[in-house]
């Protein structure tokens, strides 16, 4: 074995050279011979029946390829969890961005006019735009009660705690929609021929989701659908499900025209039509004793799923399980539901329901502290989960996590106590009020509950003719460092150098289904399978006496090359097996919700300028326990990037809705933070390890977006002495609240003043 360590070291990013030289090929950089450009005609009204479609004057329609629902060879749906979302509307529309008809032409410049010239007449139907309107059921727009999914968590006996409480603390908290705003817009290229079937190339997180959707839609067998991921310019959950829709559209146009077709959205179409973070409403009612210990409580968590079921049931699931935060709840009832509205479906976005319910939990903790009369630090200390205690779903915490100590370290790193004292004095005068805010939280890694068992992921490692190895996974790289870290894991396992290991570009003709690249599962779950598959190669070579138990890198390469020369293909596969003793009850929502949790303490230092009502985050400490850090530079980058998105979620990013449609679908009016807006984001790790993950790793990708919003809003409340329970919280909201005397109350995802 070689002495040099690879895991835990900042090796160069596998695809880094291509990225810094501009050579990396994203979907819009690819042109196929004879390729047409495709465009989508969308509904424009939130709900109604299609009466008539007319192709207007002034367009030479015979030059266009035109596809409608009638051209779909298989089932008209985008297969995911529930088959309710059509690929192209057939008779009815349920949201204003619903695709109805597709056009393709060789000249992309003639497409916008043609899209405009398609006239669709409707019989409009009444539509629902908020959680409350959906709950009132004046119209039933989905199923029998507008509810996609309900979850109920019961722990202890909540009904008996109210009588014992010294305080009952109530609160209602809301979060708005948030756009992922990856800088590369969504796009796909499809080609079709009878012999090979359909091939699509494009920007995506989950090649096998696209593969499944295309098989169903086009009524083709597995081997006649091929999906290839191109370099992907950011995703954050926004390329988990909608790529299946775009791939389906491109495929239909390619099948009808017999030519390759590219559909790349411009920014406005991408922001308006594709999925965003679910708007949410969370209500807390908590029984607390004199010392500030939580005796029990009720949490009602509701997310707005938009017009179709898509991923709402699983977003709801993660949000529900995280709703209690990192605290000990002896008695708890969580009632959660995802409801339908006539907006484009909301979907995956980093955190996946947890940032919503944790915003509520962490704001509520500060309210409990205020009610009881203890500090935000003390209230958390008195309620932290400890080793041996059980989570809201009854999962016993087995790892030696010490949240008191983590919080103490966070306070020291941020100089919390001294600064808080100083700011309280300085805030007596002047127009710039400063304060500190805390959030403490957890994030489960991997699919929820039985999810990983159902996924049954497969991973391969191939020994090559030159003695090097290749990792075969469908896990995609979109900035997080998938390729780099999985190669590190294989190299470390086999005692090879990092350069000895390559990784295949995800292509369903070549790589097995390792599950989707979501849920902070890649390093922990897929990484561990890479380790197993790599060991398979090693054991085969040792078993055949081509290699001794202890070997050098050169000996491995020689043995591997010899095997391939003599036997041909040399691949080892690993299949997911649930860790023993793990139990999850999908009915009762009890048991081991996640194989591992990451834990964090985030502290924001904030100032509010009372002349402009603007908020600046002046310093940000992000301290987390994420198991073993496999790559320090990438891990730090994940956290800093997640914190930046969290700051946007809290203070900048407001989706303005009108009639179910996003009104500000441009980078000029939907504002994300720039380099000039952000504080130093100081990232620190604790490394407890994790028995379930490769080399002790846990998930890290989603955790950092859970904490910034509550930490910042907690600080704003401290600075101004006013309660704000809704995000995004923009300067104008603060202005309005301070001049009107009460905080603004947003409807679900519908900012006040825009309806």
């Amino acid at each position: 074995m070689k002495a040099e360590q690879i895991v835990g070291v900042a090796v160069p990013r596998k695809e880094g050279q291509e990225k810094v030289t501009g050579r990396a090929q994203y979907v819009d950089d690819i042109t196929l011979h004879g390729m047409l450009c495709g465009a989508t005609v969308r509904s424009g009204i939130p709900r109604g029946k299609i009466k008539k479609i007319t192709f207007g004057p002034g367009i030479t329609w015979d030059e266009f390829v035109i596809v409608t629902a009638k051209d779909i060879p298989g089932k008209n749906c985008i297969a995911l969890i529930t088959d309710d979302q059509p690929c192209l509307a057939d008779g009815v529309v349920n949201h204003p961005e619903e695709p109805i008809l597709l056009l393709a032409h060789a000249n992309r410049y003639v497409l916008p006019k043609a899209v405009e010239a398609v006239v669709i007449e409707y019989d409009p139907l009444p539509a629902l735009f908020t959680i409350e309107e959906s709950e009132q059921q004046a119209e039933i727009i989905w199923g029998t009660d507008n509810v996609f999914k309900r979850h109920q968590v019961e722990k202890g006996d909540v009904d008996r705690v109210w009588a014992k409480a010294d305080y009952i603390v109530e609160g209602e908290y809301r979060t708005g929609a948030q756009e992922q705003l990856y800088i590369e817009n969504n796009g796909m290229i499809a080609s079709f021929d009878r012999q090979h079937g359909i091939t699509v190339w494009g920007s995506m997180q989950c090649p096998y989701y696209v593969h499944k959707a295309l098989m169903r839609l086009c009524d083709l067998p597995e081997d006649k659908v091929r999906v290839v991921q191109t370099e992907t310019g950011g995703a954050f959950g926004g390329k988990e499900e909608y790529p299946s829709m775009i791939a389906a559209h491109a495929a239909l146009l390619a099948m009808k025209s017999g030519k390759p077709v590219k559909i790349v959205y411009d920014r406005m179409e991408d922001m308006a039509a594709t999925t965003k973070r679910h708007p949410s409403r969370t209500r807390h009612r908590t029984a607390v004793n004199r010392e500030g210990k939580i005796l029990g409580g009720e949490i009602e968590f509701v997310v707005d799923g938009g017009a179709y079921a898509t991923l709402s049931s699983v977003v709801l699931s993660r949000g529900t399980i995280h709703a209690g935060g990192p605290y000990d709840w002896p008695n708890l009832r969580i009632s959660a539901k995802a409801v339908a509205t006539n907006a484009p479906p909301h979907g995956a976005f980093r955190g996946f329901g947890a940032p919503q319910s944790l915003f509520a939990m962490e704001r509520h903790m500060d309210h409990i502290a205020g009610t009881v009369g203890v500090s935000p630090v003390e209230i958390r200390r008195r309620n932290f989960l400890k080793t041996g205690m059980t989570t809201t779903t009854g999962q016993t915490i087995r790892e030696p996590i010490d949240l008191d100590q983590l919080l103490e370290r966070g306070l020291a790193l941020s100089d919390y106590r001294a600064k808080k004292e100083r700011f309280e004095k300085e805030n007596q005068r002047g127009t710039r009020k400063k304060a500190m805010g805390i959030a403490t939280f957890l994030h489960g890694a991997g699919f929820t509950g039985s999810g990983e068992r159902y996924l049954a992921s497969v991973v391969g490692v191939e020994g090559c003719a030159d003695g090097r190895v290749r990792v075969l996974v469908s896990s995609t790289e979109f900035g997080q460092g998938t390729k780099t870290v999985l190669c590190q894991i294989a190299a470390e396992t086999l005692g090879l150098t990092y350069e000895d290991v390559q990784i295949a570009q995800p292509d369903t003709d070549e790589v097995p289904n390792s599950g989707p690249t979501v849920a902070s599962r890649t390093v922990m779950v897929v990484g561990r399978l890479v380790q197993s598959a790599a060991r398979g190669l090693q054991q085969t070579l040792i078993g055949l006496d081509l290699l001794r138990d202890r070997y050098s890198r050169d000996e491995f390469r020689a043995a591997c090359a010899k095997y391939v020369a003599e036997n041909g293909e040399f691949k080892s596969w690993a299949h997911y097996e649930a860790p023993p003793g793990i139990f999850w009850d999908d009915e009762k929502y009890r048991g081991e919700a996640y194989a591992a949790y990451a834990w964090a303490v985030y502290i924001a230092e904030v100032s509010v300028d009372l002349t402009s009502y603007s908020v600046t985050v002046d310093d940000f400490v992000a301290l987390q326990e994420v198991g073993k850090v496999l790559h320090p530079v990438l891990a730090r980058g994940q956290v800093a990037g997640g914190v930046a998105q969290g700051i946007g979620f809290a203070l900048y990013e407001k989706v303005v809705w009108q009639g179910g449609r996003m009104q500000n679908s441009q980078m000029t009016n939907y504002i994300m933070p720039t380099s000039a807006d952000l504080p130093p984001i100081r990232v620190y790790f604790e490394e407890l390890g994790n028995v379930h993950g490769a080399f002790g790793a846990k998930g890290i990708g989603e955790l950092p977006i859970d904490g910034p919003a509550p930490a910042i809003v907690n600080a704003i409340e401290d600075a101004l002495g006013m309660r704000f329970d809704s995000i995004p919280l923009l300067s104008e909201d603060i202005f309005q609240a301070m001049t009107a005397g009460s905080a603004p109350r947003n409807e679900s995802g519908t900012p006040q003043g825009f309806r």
Partner: protein, 162 residues
């Protein structure tokens, strides 16, 4: 912008090479670079000059090529991301972006590298505030900018202004 009407000949120097092409006068420089010249390093993120992923140097000035009509490039010297490295020798900034984690998904990277290059050309020893200001026209959704700023500072400390 729909480039209809008559094409005209436009000449300029791209990455040191003299080029003469037929183009629609109001066609976007970004489209010309990507489609006619095959220089796909500059990306379209927004098409309205907000995100900076299409940034190139035009006669030494940092411009968003999605806002530049081709006619405006007549007689100019253009540098794109493809012209930053000298053969296989990476520019100092490209190397520090690799070392410091300045590139994640990579889609904003070409534009940010051009902005950083422009910054170091005009201000070889920038402060952190200069760097933040110099890059504030380029959006990055992955990094939170910390490691990008560190990469620029690192390149500047090598005294190599490209």
């Amino acid at each position: 912008m729909s480039p209809l009407g008559a094409q005209c000949e436009v000449s300029f120097v791209v990455n040191g090479e003299a080029r003469s092409v037929l183009a629609y006068p109001m066609e976007r420089l970004l489209d010309l670079l990507r489609r006619q010249l095959g220089l796909t390093g500059a990306k379209e993120g927004c098409g309205e000059g907000e995100c900076g992923s299409c940034a190139v140097l035009l006669d030494g000035a940092l411009v968003n090529s999605c806002l530049i009509p081709v006619l405006q490039a007549q007689g100019s010297k253009i540098v794109t991301i493809e012209g930053l490295a000298q053969g296989s020798q990476l520019h100092a900034l490209q190397q520090t972006f690799l070392d410091c984690g300045g590139a994640q998904c990579g889609i904003c990277t070409p534009g940010i590298l051009m902005a950083a290059c422009h910054l170091l050309n005009t201000k070889p020893q920038p402060t952190l505030d200069d760097i933040k200001e110099g890059l504030s026209g380029n959006l990055c959704r992955c990094t939170g900018y910390s490691q990008i700023c560190e990469a620029v500072a690192e390149a500047a400390s090598h005294g190599d202004d490209g």
